[in-house]
C-alpha cells in the first residue's frame, strides 16, 4: 500500500493507493498518520476512495489516527468510502466516531469552514 500526502486547503490529505487495507499493511498506515500529526498537521483527511476492502486491523489503524488527532488537539476525517468499506464502519459502529464525507471536495469544504 502506497500513501500520497498532499497539502490541501484546510487539511493535509492522505490518499491510500491500494484496494486492500488489512493486517498486512495497517501498521504502515498507522505510522504514516502519526508522522503527519507529529510533523505539525492539525487536520488530516484520509481519502479511502481506492480502498475496496478493510478489516479490523485497518479500522484499528484509523482509530489510532483518531487518537493521534485528539492528542494533538487536531482532527481526522475520512472521505470517499466505497459501499463495502462503509458497511464495516456501520457494523462496528465506528460511523458514529469519524467525520465521514462523501467526497474529498465536500470534506475540504467542510474542514476549511467554507
Amino acid at each position: 500500500m502506497q500513501f500520497e500526502v498532499t497539502a490541501g486547503t484546510g487539511a493535509t490529505i492522505l490518499r491510500l493507493k491500494g484496494e486492500r487495507l488489512d493486517a498486512h499493511n495497517s501498521d504502515a498506515l498507522k505510522t504514516r498518520i502519526k508522522e503527519i500529526f507529529d510533523g505539525g498537521a492539525k487536520t488530516v483527511l484520509v481519502n479511502l476512495g481506492e480502498v475496496r476492502f478493510i478489516d479490523s486491523s485497518g479500522l484499528g489503524a484509523l482509530v489510532s489516527g483518531f487518537k493521534n488527532a485528539v492528542f494533538h488537539k487536531g482532527r481526522l476525517a475520512l472521505s470517499s468510502l466505497q459501499e463495502q468499506v462503509r458497511s464495516m464502519f456501520d457494523l462496528t459502529r465506528l460511523n458514529r466516531v469519524f467525520d465521514i464525507y462523501v467526497s474529498e471536495e465536500e470534506a475540504l469544504s467542510a474542514l476549511s469552514g467554507k
Binding site: R20, D22, A23, H24, F53, D55, S56, S57, L59, G60, A61, V63, S64, F66, K67, Q84, S87, M88, L91, T92, R93, L94, V97
Partner: protein
C-alpha cells in the same frame, strides 16, 4: 449438514501477506456458488472479511506471529450451509474475552471476533490436546 457441494482445505503459511489470497478464495467461492444478483456479492464480501479476520486472528493470537507455522483452513459448502474451520496448533487465545468487545469503547484492537460473530450465525472456539479450532457456520437457505 446437507449434501456437500464442495470441501476446500487450505494450508497456508502463518504470514499476513497471504490474507489477501485467502480472502479472495472466499470471494470467488461465494460468486461461484452463490445465487445470482446482490446476494452473491454480499456473501462474497462477508466471506472475504470472515476468512481474513479468522486467519489474522490465528496469526496474531494463536501462533504468536511465527512465520514458519502453518494455518489450516477448511471450508465446507452445501446448498443449506457454509461451515468454516480455522485450525491452529499454538497456545490458542481467550475466546471469551475476544467476545467481550464493546463497540462503544474506542479501542484500537479487539474487533475481529466481534465482526466474525456479526456476519456468521454460530461461532465457537474449541481447544483440544492436538489443536485449537475456530468454527463458524452460516445458513445459506
Amino acid at each position: 449438514m446437507g449434501k456437500k457441494v464442495l470441501q476446500l482445505d487450505i494450508k497456508i503459511p502463518n504470514q499476513t501477506r497471504y490474507l489477501e489470497l485467502v480472502g479472495r478464495i472466499g470471494e470467488d467461492l461465494a460468486r461461484e456458488f452463490g445465487e445470482e444478483g446482490g446476494g452473491a456479492d454480499d456473501l462474497a464480501q462477508q466471506l472475504n472479511v470472515v476468512l481474513t479476520e479468522a486467519m489474522a486472528n490465528a496469526i496474531r493470537h494463536a501462533h504468536e506471529g511465527d512465520p514458519d507455522k502453518t494455518i489450516h483452513i477448511s471450508i465446507s459448502l452445501s446448498a443449506e450451509e457454509l461451515w468454516i474451520r480455522v485450525f491452529d496448533h499454538g497456545p490458542g487465545f481467550d475466546f471469551d474475552s475476544a467476545c467481550a468487545h464493546e463497540p462503544e469503547k474506542l479501542e484500537e484492537h479487539g474487533r475481529g471476533i466481534y465482526i466474525i460473530r456479526s456476519l456468521m450465525d454460530t461461532v465457537v472456539y474449541r481447544r483440544t490436546r492436538e489443536y485449537n479450532v475456530l468454527e463458524m457456520w452460516k445458513k445459506l437457505s
